[in-house]
Symmetry: C2
Subunit: 219 residues, 2 copies
């Protein structure tokens, strides 16, 4: 098959790219990379050859690997510009969408990903409640600024009534924040957008609960 | 003036955008935001109105604020596509450049920025040597993957012999890593690219040492 996605069902960065592939109507082979089992399959020598940072996701298109979810999403939007465009046409509007994506991509996710949480526990012996406080503080801080930023721009979705790349970052971030037990009660506008997105089959099909490597599916 | 840049001389994200403005030959007003003085000027109510995340840089173009260095750099490349293009034309090559940018933008810088280091010290009482080890580990890990990724793609600069957005992320990252005392000796290829970039007046003019809010300039 032309497209392959190395990914993990509950990785939020993987989830972003799955939504993009669904929206772009691209068929792909799903290749699960278990991030925890046997020290993490992302750390095998074989996987390092296609992803020097040993992270998911990696998209393979015609044998060429691309990683970093933001770069993959921009790539998919460039090769399939006419199907569900993920960025508006106007440069300022494009900048706004990218700014929103980055508030999550560089401003929240890297601070609460598996590697950093493991490092805090293993190297700095932080306790479980301290770990929860770390996640809660940093996610809340990022979501507050995200919500303020889109407050005069949103509609059904982050930017008006059309899905944009920003929704592909928000929905997986809400998913993982719920999993970590972050209090999302204050984020009424974001939760409404999340709910609106989850009504779409594209978001349902790419949801962690619907992926073949989700152990609850096998049960 | 049409363009204004709210920024701080030694912030690596500010430095990235200054290089882009220089390369694009855009005149701009330099508005210093001191990140430490009086609890940080980025935290004033006035600044929060233009940057909900209270971070530098923020670019103002015709009264419209844009933040997140990646979004600003993409924007500048879109409005001035013919002057020093920062991304190649081919979609795969563009994806490679963005991937390299993100290894630094989301993979290194957020983990060692001022806010996180302050949080580690204030909330988790980590010692000074522990703070140094944190920075050293995370920067080294990121630069290893960056260097591996560009190893078969680089020339004088990260991607061949033409400046791309990736160089705008690498050079400021090297600057801040040197400031933090990270051992950069192993990164021979990256240090050579850094040296090649710093020979260009565009990189010299945007260097922290040449900015009006650098206190050493006033001394």
């Amino acid at each position: 098959m032309e497209f392959k996605l190395y990914n993990y069902y509950r990785s939020s960065c993987s989830y972003r790219v799955r939504i993009a592939l669904e929206l772009k109507k691209i068929d792909y082979s799903y290749i699960p990379i278990h991030l925890i089992e046997n020290g993490g399959h992302q750390n095998t020598l074989e996987y390092q050859k296609i992803n020097t940072k040993q992270e998911v996701p990696t998209l393979i298109h015609n044998e060429t690997p691309i990683s970093q979810s933001m770069a993959i999403i921009e790539y998919l939007d460039e090769i399939k510009p006419d199907i569900s465009p993920l960025l508006p046409k106007n440069p300022i509007q494009r900048a706004y969408v990218r700014q929103a994506c980055e508030i999550i991509n560089s401003g929240i996710q890297p601070l609460q990903n598996l590697r950093i949480l493991n490092k805090l526990v293993n190297d700095y012996q932080i306790s479980d409640p301290q770990k929860k406080a770390w996640i809660n503080d940093l996610v809340t801080n990022g979501l507050v600024s995200f919500e303020k930023f889109i407050s005069n721009k949103s509609g059904l979705y982050c930017f008006g009534d059309t899905i944009s790349a920003a929704d592909l970052f928000l929905v997986p971030q809400i998913f993982s924040s719920q999993r970590f037990g972050v209090d999302l009660e204050p984020f009424k506008a974001l939760m409404q957008i999340n709910e609106n997105c989850l009504k779409l089959t594209t978001f349902q099909n790419s949801h962690p609960n619907a992926q073949p490597d989700n152990p609850e599916l096998k049960a």
